[in-house]
């Protein structure tokens, strides 16, 4: 083998190994991460198939909140997301990111009230408090998240409770009301703990769902949800009788 040929095949082997290693690393990467979509995003499956990955929403955001997923980020490459701990959504009144979207992956009707864009109807996620690590739940005074919330006293309110340990102080506990929380993440951004003790999760991750069989009878129209309820479900009487007759009883 001549020197030139040796260099040639060496170059070839090294290049293929490097490129192969890179592809391998990217393909086998799996760090789990929950991500939040921009305001007005359709539900996750619909959103990721409708987004054309143009970054027009990213560029429309005046706060650099939104980022495009990079190759290896563990979500559909090129789709926009944001990390509130770094930069929260500032809930712009005119929500510029939404009308910028050419495909309708961000749907303005989801963030409108009476046909007008309304930042308070943004629902990018919902904040959750980690009671173990929130220092307010330890009895130490902190209301950073409460103060940071743009819907102060609605999305986050403080609950007062007697602190039995000291017997002369009160707990001022931050509590999130999912009915108002937009998921903007200003609380997560402001939280004073090392890793935020209040953080935003996608609503479908954080919230439960009650079936038609539970009704708030004390609320006006509380039973309106029964209109479409499935009435074909029949009680299994036998089952109850058998249960009463079983030995354990």
């Amino acid at each position: 083998m001549t020197r030139r040929e040796l260099l040639k095949s060496g170059f070839k082997v090294i290049s293929i190994a490097l490129a192969g290693g890179f592809v391998w690393k990217m393909a086998s990467k799996n760090d789990y991460k929950v991500f939040l979509r921009p305001p007005g995003a359709l539900d996750e499956a619909k959103f990721s198939s409708k987004c054309i990955k143009c970054a027009l929403c990213v560029k429309a955001c005046p706060y650099d909140t939104l980022k495009l997923a990079k190759f290896g980020d563990n979500m559909t490459v090129g789709t926009p997301y944001f990390t509130p701990r770094e930069i929260p959504c500032y809930m712009c009144e005119d929500i510029p990111c939404v009308p910028a979207c050419p495909t309708g992956a961000l749907d303005s009707s989801l963030v409108s009230k009476d046909d007008k864009l309304d930042a308070n109807s943004i629902r990018v996620g919902v904040a959750v408090v980690d009671m173990q690590n929130c220092v307010a739940y330890w009895g130490i005074q902190c209301d950073a998240c409460y103060r940071a919330c743009p819907l102060l006293d609605k999305a986050i309110y403080l609950e007062y409770k007697r602190n039995d340990r000291t017997a002369k102080h009160a707990f001022l506990l931050p509590v999130v009301d999912a009915a108002f929380c937009t998921g903007c993440g200003k609380c997560e951004h402001a939280c004073i703990t090392k890793k935020a003790a209040i953080f935003v999760l996608p609503r479908e991750v954080a919230l439960g769902e009650v079936g038609d069989n539970y009704v708030k009878g004390w609320e006006k129209d509380g039973d309106s949800k029964l209109q479409n309820a499935d009435t074909s479900v029949k009680l299994q009487e036998k089952k109850a009788i058998n249960y009463l007759n079983s030995e354990e009883f």
């Binding site: 170059f11 990217m26 198939s49 027009l56 190759f71 050419p102």
Partner: protein, 262 residues
Amino acid sequence: MKINIIRRISQVAILLFFILGNLGILPILKGDLSSSMLFGKIPLSDPFAVLQIYLATFSINSVAITGALIIFLVYALVAPRAFCAWVCPINLITDFAYFIRKKLSYSKDRNFLNIPKSFRYYFLALSLILSFVLSMPAFENISFIGVVQRGIIFTNSVAIGVIFAIFVFDTFIVDRGICSRICPLGAFYAVIGKFSLIRVEHIAQNCTKCMDCKVVCPEVDVLKMVGKNDGFVASECISCGRCVDICQHNALNFSIKNNKEG
């Protein structure tokens, strides 16, 4: 000036316009090659991406559809696969890979893999079918073109690895692998460019059969009439004009193809 140089300028300038537009320095183009706004008013969208999204969701905003129609008409009317040679940044990588391959005289080596040129058309069909079946834009979600163009336009370093992988694939694994065998976007533009007007025309009378053109053409099959009869290249031609540049005998030139006669 050589056509090849003008085309390099075009490839780089478009990326630069995007970079400057997105930084807000030069308000001409905003967005990226998937979808963008020209002068903040005219929407432009990749018609192949929009088609996949449409098949996946059966609903899409009129802005994206308008943008896709504009781009569709431009490429369908102007020159076959003009996107490949004049816009797409992947072409910069694969042309460089080919150059290195030639420099190292690998061209005679056997390919690691043998991928037929028709593969891209199957891949194109499969991308569309899968978009419909899986309800997601199948090729868009794995598009190396998307990763690279976004990587360049929005400067992220992960794309360097992808660029290197494409380079290695074309240099050492398959000769002209990405652009003339695999890429379904190139195949898409070849299909919609079937009736495009500007084509390379061969005049057999001037040809000395030196075969220089066949050496430089990335899609040699389109030059099969060279030295034999007059004619226009097929729509797989990427309209790079290399052959026009190299032909010393004025046998190849861009001209207007009248589709009724041809």
